[in-house]
């Protein structure tokens, strides 16, 4: 500061007739703003306000002072002989002058040619999300967030502009310039149980985030080359700012509850229907006394959902210290998050600390670092529903659904419904403990080579240590005779990145250049150690006493590494700020691909035309800005495991005799993978055309984009090859997938004055991904537990990705369809039917309706299916497309109001036109066993011949339930009130007395109301998270909670 003053003094001395002018620059709350530039118009002379917002400058009487500060409207004030000029800067309504962070640099929003969405800090934390990916939901156009599981800490599936790849379509996350590994923890799998997957993103404290930019089109993503195809999420954390030291405290507490329960039968209906189901199957009815009790509504009902769910709590505390002077800026933050989930005994605890530093060594060299450490403790129970659990049978939530309503909470076993164990035992029996610690940090140095040219080097390191523990108690039948089972999985991920960039900025008259040229090296290492021990004397020591186990399975140690070498560059050129050109290119070399295919080149070009800067445009009323954008480019995807191109031998052991009457395990080696010498990148070619429109002095801004993406050389892991090759699958580049869509974003300051303001932001997105070419006409996908032939979905050439494939229901067979019932009175029909409910009949001549599942179901009341190939019987050929997991469109609308000291906002998002396969209904509809949906009471009976629900049948295992048909497909469209927040900021007069800069209290509710026809817990579902080949399956996963939070923010 001193130096500047000396320089200024010298400069000022040169001026004659100058007078000294001083004053204070404040914001609307009358607080001094430090760092405001005060400049004499049309000169290089200027000063910066001090910590208190005060400035002193020498200027002549006819000068004009220009006051400018980021985020505020620039003011020009003529001196006019005044010696004291105080200014209040008002916040700018102009979004366009924001600086937008793009890969390896920044660009003014008005100069942007690519398609980039920005999300600000306040929008990220408002929802109270544990993790930043969840916070993206509904916030930006073209970004679809699916929170498949309510497990605290589990990741959300984020898709940017539809689906690019069959290998997951998750974007690349870059935090403060560091691409981070976002692979969810591999679950501990123990027979049909498996742990929930915790996402590394849940380790990042959302309160540390200053902004998130989402790079969408090729012009924006090509700079990330081989990893840009799925879009890039750039996360920038807060840094210290010039001015006095600040302390910022956010503290909040909340409660969480299960928003909705699934309607199930009560005990009385349960037994009445089971009795009927057994008789219908030709089996003896239930105990007559029990039936009589049920018919007279005498039986107690237990709802197991009440037992496994609880009211959860959250507690989130942040404190950060920030400040700085012109040579050193700092931000120190710490976070404590403690939450108890809505499923009993599940929790999530995070402690994190951050230190962000920026320092100027001298006028040429500046250095800085972003250092972050986080530790997570999370206890989980068996709530997962991934494909390891047959129809989620061993998930305690599924158990709570299928367990008989008549079974007592204390019962260990009830033949008629509990099947081996109760939900309570499932809850108590499987313990998953996760302890994850992560360090992520970088150190960077920047050297100003000359005016406009600088060199920056950045070293970053990510280290994640995961300790997963599992213990299955002896109370579970699976553990029987295993006597307790302990498994551990300790893994470590190391990512090291070195990035070197040259930045060059040059303005020559009307030509403006902004260029970056760089190179980076990244190494990724993964190792893990798994142990499994069983047979313990008791459950007291859990996994801590492996040495006392009777069975010691071999420990498994695994390791992999991969490397990425890159060269990249970008030139932004603008002419008169009117014509904009961006050229981007990156060369990536990845170790994951075959010898001759290591390197890929990803170029992009974008053009922008600020048409509103043309003279002819100045006269158009209301339109303050109009920019047309056009881009074309390539980006890639390399998201496969390492070593897929190599011929591999794997090792294992195999039992043989030991020669002494016993057995031993011999080591074996065997070919485990066929080499693919042609393995290479997936390449996405994206075309984008769009415009940015500013209306009414840019108080309304509209962004629109249309895009078309072709993903070529699709990486298909596990593509089927002829078995006689000795392998059944191979990782190959196959086919072409095409996504078309539009993104529409609106930001509007509808009303903006001192006492009342109303800001609305909204977005609307539509995208559709189709398979254009593939190695085969179709590939089975979706969910296949062995009962669904092939799978619930298929990848079909010419169809959307994520179509459900199965039988089409065609009503219920009725009396009139059968010869034997012709010409009978209603009563005679009923009597004939009851004479033998499991008899079969003969269809009338010329019957043309649907067919039941087999010839032994030719009787009234059976579910009928469309006979697509018209051969008179139901066969595999009668299956077709019965639903689409991709939505038609999705949207988000946020309204914020400020009324004096009150602020209020509500946020709505929605997904329209998506279908869901309700996998849990496989179990909740068929009457072979267990609890059923309440809607079963509407079944077909002779007296009430339903045309919607078939008759109940205890022998119906396999049908209708396991004929995968559109009965299991539901419309998953929803509109949700995601968040409502009401805040009150104490008037300045009071906070001043308390010596506080700010005191705000707020109450916030999330996931408050969902309007949907979907019958499951919540319509954001996915069986296996981000697997694009299993979209839209609900298997009664951990439901999303409704949350209410009360918080306070203090600044001083």
């Amino acid at each position: 500061m001193k130096n500047i003053l000396i320089v200024l003094t010298v400069m000022v001395c040169k001026l004659s007739l100058a007078q000294t002018i001083s004053g204070i620059v404040t914001d609307k709350n009358n607080l001094g703003i430090p760092g405001v530039t005060v400049q004499i118009k049309d000169t290089n002379i200027g000063v910066v306000t001090n910590f208190d917002g005060k400035y002193t400058i020498k200027a002549s009487s006819d000068d004009i002072l220009v006051f400018s500060f980021i985020g505020t409207e620039t003011q020009e004030i003529p001196v006019n002989g005044e010696t004291i000029i105080n200014v209040t800067l008002i916040e700018s309504a102009e979004f366009l002058d924001e600086v937008v962070i793009v890969g390896y640099g920044t660009v003014k929003k008005s100069d942007l040619t690519g398609s980039v969405s920005s999300i600000k800090a306040e929008d990220i934390i408002k929802q109270g999300a544990i993790s930043i990916d969840q916070a993206l939901a509904g916030k930006a156009s073209g970004v679809q967030v699916t929170q498949g599981s309510g497990v605290p800490g589990s990741g959300a599936s984020v898709k940017i502009r539809g689906i690019n790849s069959m290998q997951g379509s998750e974007p690349l996350y870059v935090i403060d310039g560091i691409p981070i590994d976002n692979t969810s923890l591999s679950p501990i799998v123990a027979e049909q149980e498996s742990s929930s997957q915790i996402s590394p993103l849940s380790m990042i404290n959302p309160s540390d985030v200053a902004s998130i930019e989402i790079l969408k089109d090729a012009s924006a993503t090509a700079i990330y080359g081989s990893r840009g195809a799925n879009g890039v999420v750039l996360v920038t954390t807060k840094s210290g700012s010039l001015g006095k030291g600040r302390i910022n405290i956010d503290s909040e507490n909340g409660v969480m509850e299960l928003p909705t329960k699934i309607n199930l039968l009560n005990s009385n209906n349960y037994w009445v229907l089971y009795n009927e189901a057994r008789i219908n199957a030709g089996e003896p009815g239930i105990d007559p006394d029990l039936l009589l009790s049920a018919q007279n509504n005498l039986l107690p009902t237990y709802n197991w959902q009440d037992i496994v769910f609880q009211t959860g709590t959250t507690s989130n505390h942040n404190i950060n210290f920030s400040g700085g002077n012109k040579d050193l800026k700092y931000l120190l933050s710490t976070n404590l998050f403690d939450g108890k989930g809505i499923v009993k005994q599940t929790d999530f605890n995070r402690i994190s600390s951050r230190l962000n530093l920026d320092a100027n060594i001298n006028s040429k060299i500046s250095v800085g670092s972003r250092l972050y450490f986080a530790n997570i403790n999370s206890n989980q129970r068996s709530t997962t529903t991934n494909f390891n659990a047959n129809t989620g049978a061993n998930s305690l939530i599924m158990r709570a659904l299928v367990t008989s309503p008549y079974a007592d909470f204390d019962s260990d076993f009830d033949e008629e419904g509990v099947e081996y164990y109760t939900p309570i035992e499932a809850l108590e029996g499987n313990l998953y403990e996760n302890v994850i610690s992560m360090f992520i940090g970088n150190v960077f140095a920047e050297y100003k080579i000359s005016d406009g040219l600088s060199f920056k080097s950045n070293f970053s390191f990510q280290d994640r240590n995961t300790n997963q523990r599992f213990y299955q108690k002896n109370n579970l039948p699976q553990a029987y005779s295993r006597s307790g089972w302990a498994k551990t999985n300790d893994s470590r991920v190391n990512v090291f990145t070195n990035t070197n960039t040259l930045n060059y900025i040059k303005n020559i008259r009307k030509h403006n250049f902004n260029a970056v040229l760089g190179q980076s090296i990244e190494t990724f290492k993964f190792s893990s150690l798994m142990t499994s021990n069983a047979g313990f004397e008791n459950d007291l020591l859990l996994f801590y006493a492996p040495n006392t186990a009777e069975f010691n399975d071999p420990d498994l140690l695994s390791y992999s590494d991969s490397k990425l070498v890159s060269f990249f560059g970008r030139v932004n050129y603008s002419y008169e700020n009117k014509w904009l050109l961006t050229l981007t290119g990156r060369i990536d070399g990845s170790s994951k691909f075959a010898e001759n295919n290591k390197f890929g080149f990803f170029p992009a070009i974008a053009l922008g035309y600020n048409i509103s800067k043309e003279d002819f445009f100045q006269d158009i009323e209301g339109i303050s800005n109009l920019k047309l954008r056009l881009s074309y480019g390539l980006s890639g995807n390399q998201s496969i495991q390492p070593y897929q191109s190599l011929d591999q031998l794997a090792s294992d052991t195999q039992g043989f005799g030991d020669g002494n009457g016993g057995e031993t395990l011999n080591p074996i080696f065997y070919n485990s993978q066929l080499a693919n010498k042609n393995l290479k990148w997936e390449t996405t070619t994206q075309k984008n055309i769009g415009f940015d429109l500013g209306l009414f002095n840019n108080s309304v801004e509209i962004n629109f984009d249309y895009y078309n993406k072709d993903t070529n050389d699709l990486l298909v892991v596990g593509n089927r090859i002829p078995s006689h090759s000795g392998f059944t699958t191979m990782t190959e580049n196959l086919g072409l997938m095409r996504t078309k869509g539009i993104d529409l974003g609106i930001n509007a300051f509808l009303i903006s004055n001192e006492n009342f303001s109303w800001k609305m932001t909204g977005n609307f997105s539509k995208s559709e991904t189709k398979i254009i070419e593939m190695g085969a006409d179709y590939i089975e996908s979706g969910y296949n537990n062995g009962w669904v032939s092939g799978g619930t979905q298929r990848l079909i050439v010419g169809e959307e990705l994520g179509v459900f494939f199965g039988y089409k229901t065609a009503g219920i067979s009725q009396f009139d369809d059968f010869q034997e019932f012709q010409g009978l009175t209603e009563q005679e029909k009923i009597d004939l039917y009851y004479s033998n409910p499991s008899a079969t009949y003969t269809y009338i001549d010329g019957y043309s309706g649907g067919v039941p599942r087999s010839t032994s179901h030719y009787r009234p009341g059976e579910q009928l299916y469309a006979d697509l190939n018209e051969d008179g019987i139901l066969s595999e050929e009668d299956r077709g497309v019965i639903g689409h997991a991709q939505p038609d469109f999705y949207f988000g609308i946020n309204n914020s109001f400020a009324i004096g000291n009150l602020d209020f906002s509500f946020f709505i998002d929605g997904v329209i036109g998506q279908d869901i396969a309700n996998v849990m209904n496989f179990r909740l509809m068929d009457f072979s066993w267990g609890q059923k949906l309440e809607s079963s009471v509407s079944r077909w009976t002779p007296e009430n011949p339903s045309s919607e629900y078939p008759r109940v049948d205890a022998g119906n295992f396999g049908a209708p339930a396991f004929r995968f048909s559109d009965r299991f497909i539901e419309d998953g469209s929803y509109i949700r009130l995601q968040n409502v927040t009401l805040g009150y900021t104490l008037p300045k007069s009071i906070s001043d007395k308390l010596k506080l800069d700010l005191l705000k209290i707020y109450i916030s509710g999330s996931n408050l109301l969902t309007i949907s026809d979907y019958s499951g817990y919540n319509p954001d579902v996915s069986l296996t998270g981000n697997n694009t080949q299993q979209m839209g399956h609900d298997s009664a996963g951990y439901p999303l909670a409704r949350t209410y939070r009360l918080g306070v923010t203090l600044k001083f």
Binding site: L453, G535, L557, V565, P642, L649, Q654, F656, G955
Partner: protein
């Protein structure tokens, strides 16, 4: 836009130079050198490498997982015959009983009961080719090298033998396939596979593999018994992939007889003659080779080891154990079915003490039970209907193939678990040699009382507590007697379907199957413990002599001219 070099400062050129020079070293940097696995090119250098690779060929027979050949699903090969049934219609195998088997069934597709053989053959091909190319000097002896090659060849033959009997014509692959360019292969006639692979491979193995008893590895003797079985099979009837009925070449009878005779006269194998008495549990002599604690017995010729370690055990205890629903089980229709006959147990307790889940996929039929002669020890061994726990309690169980079951697991013993039982599966026993000999000898020349064919059958019968066969049987009667002996001796050993095919009895023997268990057979009341689709009134269709090629394989090989087996 003219950015010339003077436009840029000198330092920049220097930095660009650094960037460019770093490119040249990238290629090495990006090379993948994975530490956790090896590839073919750097393997096969020592005898130990050859041995571990050869041992890897065995894995597809039984890998302890669910989908290897003798892991979980292969016993379905006999479903629908007169020996093996599945739980009441709630099963994955409905199609087996209604005879509507389709090529998309998971048995062929996701459970790998076609692909497993090819994985095994591929591993064998890799061993045969690579070990052959290794210098003799790295082996202790040339015999050691040839023995390894012999094992791999015998296993290749065994996998092919399974393939041709199950699926008919298959491609002939005797070299490792290393790239996609070699995928295109036509299906070739079964006879070509026998003549060019199976028989030469086994002949090589019987010459080059080791003497002595088997510890799970291929020996000279188990090569011979497989070869004898091959000859026996080729002597019998079959249907081709095109649906033609083929009567085998009778020359094979003599080959089968002679091969079996070599084993009987020269091998160290023999029948176990003494029972094992373990408190209340008595394992008759006929069951000892299968029982826990007697792995790789003198009787066992080719045995697959299951070790009580995760991923190395047998899951068949679970698969064939009783399905835990009371209805239709061994007469249990209500909660307390046994009060009236003195069993103070309910249905639940009737299962195992700890209620472990079992699924009842492969269970014996009443027909099999009733076919045993009075006094045949093998009946109650093969078909367990009750068991006695360590405290002396008697538990009824749904009839279960005892040889699949780890009884310790039923009894709740320590060190047992449902997915990793210690139960070995035996593919060939000395009994195979005896019965192949008897059957083949009787075809070469009608057996006469007191000759070696009679002796072979009687050795088996006497061991089972039965008298000798009556004298004076006609050739037809003797043949029938051997067939019966095979059924009773090998119950549940995945041989029934193939026996019925080669003797052209598949349709007749499966037409009228006894479906009802009676109280005379130890059941509480008469009931039908059969898959409800298993009505017996759907005759075994000719095309189901062969299984269909999995649909995905037909699709993947459409360009190679593959067509589905006739009738599917």
């Amino acid at each position: 836009m003219n950015i010339n070099s003077t436009f840029l400062p000198k330092n920049l050129k220097f930095i660009i130079l650094i960037l460019l020079t770093s490119i040249s070293s990238c290629e090495d940097f990006l090379e993948e050198v994975p530490p956790t696995f090896i590839s073919t090119s750097n393997f096969y250098t020592t005898q130990s490498d050859a041995r571990t690779a050869c041992d890897g060929v065995y894995e597809m027979l039984h890998d302890g997982g669910w989908n290897s050949t003798y892991g979980r699903w292969w016993p379905a090969i006999d479903l629908g015959t007169d020996d093996v049934v599945s739980k009441v219609s709630r099963t994955n195998f409905n199609d087996w009983f209604s005879h509507t088997i389709n090529p998309s069934h998971p048995w062929f597709e996701s459970w790998g009961q076609y692909s497993n053989f090819w994985i095994g053959i591929s591993r064998a091909n890799s061993v045969i080719e690579n070990v052959s190319q290794m210098p003799n000097s790295v082996f202790e002896t040339i015999e050691a090298k040839n023995s390894i090659i012999g094992e791999a060849r015998a296993l290749r033959a065994l996998y092919y033998f399974h393939l041709v009997r199950t699926y008919g014509d298959v491609p002939l692959i005797d070299k490792p396939i290393t790239s996609k360019d070699n995928f295109a292969k036509p299906r070739v006639d079964v006879n070509v596979i026998y003549d060019e692979i199976i028989i030469p491979d086994l002949q090589f193995a019987e010459t080059n593999c080791s003497e002595g008893l088997s510890d799970g590895h291929i020996t000279k003797w188990n090569s011979k018994v497989i070869l004898a079985d091959v000859y026996l099979t080729r002597a019998g009837t079959r249907r081709t992939s095109q649906g033609e009925f083929v009567q085998g070449n009778a020359d094979n009878w003599l080959l089968a007889k002679n091969k079996a005779a070599e084993i009987i006269s020269d091998s160290p194998h023999q029948l176990i003659e003494n029972p094992v008495i373990n408190g209340a549990n008595i394992i008759p002599a006929c069951g000892v080779a299968w029982s826990e604690g007697h792995p790789f017995s003198v009787e066992s010729m080719l045995e697959l080891s299951s070790v009580n370690v995760q991923l190395h055990g047998s899951i068949l205890s679970r698969e064939c154990g009783p399905f835990p629903h009371g209805v239709n089980y061994w007469g249990a229709g209500s909660n307390k079915p046994f009060l009236n006959i003195g069993y103070n147990l309910n249905v639940i307790q009737m299962r195992f003490p700890g209620n472990p889940p079992a699924v009842g996929l492969y269970i014996p039929t009443p027909d099999l039970y009733a076919s045993y002669e009075e006094g045949d020890e093998r009946r109650d061994w093969n078909l367990m209907t009750k068991y006695i726990t360590n405290d002396g309690s008697i538990y009824l169980s749904q009839p279960t193939f005892r040889k699949y079951v780890d009884i310790g697991y039923y009894l709740g013993n320590e060190n047992t678990s449902f997915s990793n039982t210690n139960n070995n599966f035996i593919l060939y026993r000395y009994a195979d040699a005896l019965l192949i000999y008897a059957e083949a000898a009787n075809e070469v020349a009608a057996a006469t009382f007191g000759d070696s064919a009679y002796d072979a059958v009687n050795e088996i019968r006497n061991r089972a507590g039965l008298q000798d066969l009556p004298s004076g049987l006609s050739q037809d009667q003797f043949r029938e007697a051997v067939w019966n002996e095979r059924r009773h001796e090998f119950a549940g050993e995945c041989k029934r379907r193939f026996d019925l095919i080669r003797t052209n009895r598949l349709a007749t023997e499966t037409l009228n199957i006894k479906k009802t268990w009676t109280s005379a057979e130890g059941s509480v009341n008469n009931y039908q413990n059969v898959n409800t689709l298993f009505t017996g009134n759907v005759p075994w269709p000719d095309h189901e002599w062969l299984m269909p090629i999995p649909q995905s394989e037909i699709d993947l090989n459409a360009e190679n001219g593959w067509t589905q087996n006739n009738g599917y």
